[in-house]
């Protein structure tokens, strides 16, 4: 399987803080790669650096074989990368429809694709003309993900989509992520919920102190409680 995204020796400074300290990893095309690690390990910074929201101070980021580090964020987005931030960042003053119209950059909304999205996020259809600011946290997360997939993208960067959500909504998001995977989209997913990671992840990269400290398959990490404890300080049993 070829790598769609590859980072090599990426360093990122935010002010005087040296957050990413030589990140190297690849995300295989068509797979869901989990980016795990404790709080403060540098996962969000990695996604924001890929997206060009923070500049890499050294190293290279390549997408589909083309270097993208240093490109402005809109160019990176137009290359085929969608970003779902941890904060969801829906436009609260705009309706659900208007949020999706903006995400469909180059044309009208595709009805069949909308129906596909409504299949796993029916709330978005129900509240189509409601302001995004009036949605619940879970519905905002659905909208944020829908915005990323309303047009075909090659790579999705998703940051902690299940954080703070009720279990029923987490289930809906897992179904959505599996559906996105079936559609052949490559996903780089930051997630603290190990059950979610286990259900949707193909590969896993674990970060600590701004570096990748483990690479492997999600299945092998899920099967190795000792490794989980060592890398993540958690027990899978405790999260089931």
């Amino acid at each position: 399987m070829t790598a769609l995204l590859s980072l090599s020796g990426v360093h990122t400074h935010i002010g005087r803080y040296h957050i990413l300290q030589g990140v190297d990893f690849e995300a295989a095309e068509g797979k869901t790669t989990m980016l795990l690690g404790r709080n403060g390990a540098g996962k969000t910074t990695t996604l924001r650096t890929i997206m060009g929201l923070w500049r890499a101070s050294a190293g290279s980021v390549a997408f589909a074989g083309q270097p993208i580090a240093g490109l402005p964020t809109p160019s990176i987005a137009r290359a085929g990368i969608a970003y779902v931030p941890e904060t969801m960042a829906v436009f609260s003053g705009l309706t659900v429809r208007e949020n999706l119209i903006l995400a469909a950059r180059d044309g009208a909304l595709d009805d069949s694709r909308l129906q596909w999205i409504f299949g796993f996020f029916p709330a978005l259809k129900k509240f189509w003309l409601s302001r995004a600011g009036s949605l619940s946290g879970g519905q905002k997360q659905m909208l944020s993900i829908a915005r990323a997939i309303v047009e075909p993208r090659r790579l999705l960067l998703i940051d902690e989509p299940t954080k703070g959500l009720a279990p029923a909504i987490v289930g809906a998001l897992i179904d959505c992520l599996k559906e996105i995977k079936r559609a052949g989209v490559t996903v780089l997913l930051v997630e603290q919920n190990f059950r979610v990671a286990q259900e949707v992840g193909d590969d896993v990269r674990v970060m600590d102190n701004g570096r990748i400290v483990h690479r492997g398959s999600m299945a092998s990490l899920a099967a190795d409680a000792t490794l989980q404890n060592r890398l993540l300080g958690l027990s899978l049993d405790a999260h089931q």
Partner: protein, 337 residues
């Protein structure tokens, strides 16, 4: 594909906040018995409406620029002054149109002045943004210093080009005088200013709500980083908004010059404080708030000027303080600000 849970509980019905919109009516209700004469009240109220819509025209660009890019442009008044001088340049060679006893020719010269002022100010806005604003994105203190410097430079250039004296600018023949409803006088030019202001308000509202550019501006006011992450070059959008805001300031300058029937290089600087009060009172980044703030400022200025002329000097500051005590973010701030 699996249909899943969370069709969602019914959303709370969006609460429409009418209270700020009622403020102008409340002020008028309070002022009416104090003024006493109905005709004087009508005359003052209509004059306020006209002044308010002219202030709105000048302030709308400022509020969008601040809302979209967090840029404090203290040089906004420079475009008002330039617009006013453009009016004198257009009126001078077309004095026969202005003095003709023809409404069409009279309106034609005003329309031409508006077009020229908007075009020149829009183009100068491009230069101003590239030279002064772009290097200081995200640095409020430097923005204040640089744009204030820009205002001073423009003002001095206008003195150098047009001289230090006030230039008279007579109203076209058909727009002199007033319509009378009973004893109340509705000045013809003020009626035109109301129409122009309302057209601009409706145009801006439709653009912001029913076009993709408008959606982008509204989204950019809320979260410009996410707009960029969706693939839009917000700096280009900002440049367009800045140029449009400068053009609107120039247009407002034409109306203000005709309203005062004179032009002076300091007109922009003197109006800048008023525009700040309008924008802060109305809520940053909001066109509806800007219109409401401008109307309130004009009503309070006119009523106070009639009832207590000495108080008129501080009436708008008092209004702003009162509004901020009631609504610390202004009457109708744009999302999140």
């Amino acid at each position: 594909m699996s249909a899943t849970t969370d069709t969602g509980a019914a959303l709370p019905r969006p609460k429409i906040d009418f209270a700020p919109a009622l403020a102008p009516f409340l002020i008028a209700l309070i002022a009416a018995p104090l003024i006493g004469s109905t005709s004087t009240f009508i005359t003052l109220t209509f004059a306020s409406l006209a002044m308010g819509l002219m202030l709105f025209t000048m302030a709308s660009g400022f509020t969008l620029v601040f809302g979209l890019m967090d840029v404090l442009n203290f040089g906004h008044g420079a475009f008002i002054s330039i617009g006013a001088y453009m009016a004198t340049l257009v009126f001078a060679p077309l004095i026969l149109w202005s003095q003709a006893d023809s409404l069409a020719l009279n309106l034609g010269v005003i329309l031409l002045a508006i077009v020229v002022a908007a075009a020149v100010c829009g183009a100068l806005g491009l230069v101003f943004e590239k030279l002064l604003i772009q290097p200081v994105y995200g640095q409020h203190l430097k923005q204040i210093l640089v744009t204030t410097g820009g205002l001073i430079v423009v003002e001095q250039l206008l003195y150098a080009l047009f001289g230090p004296d006030t230039i008279p600018l007579g109203l076209p023949t058909s727009l002199r005088g007033a319509f009378h409803i009973g004893d109340a006088a509705i000045e013809k030019f003020r009626l035109l200013a109301v129409v122009v202001g309302l057209v601009i308000f409706v145009g801006l509202t439709l653009t912001l709500n029913y076009t993709k550019i408008g959606l982008l501006i509204r989204a950019g006011v809320e979260n410009r980083e996410m707009v960029e992450a969706l693939g839009y070059r917000i700096n280009r959008l900002f440049l367009a908004v800045f140029m449009a805001g400068s053009a609107l300031a120039g247009l407002g300058g034409v109306l203000w010059a005709l309203y005062r029937e004179q032009v002076h290089a300091s007109v922009g600087q003197s109006l800048t404080v008023l525009i700040f009060i309008v924008v802060i009172t109305g809520g940053l980044g909001s066109i509806g708030g800007c219109l409401l703030g401008a109307t309130l400022v004009a009503l309070v200025a006119n009523y106070a000027g009639f009832l207590a002329p000495k108080f008129a000097l501080v009436s708008n500051i008092a209004l702003m303080v009162a509004v901020l005590l009631w609504r610390p973010r202004g009457l109708y701030p744009a999302g999140g600000r």
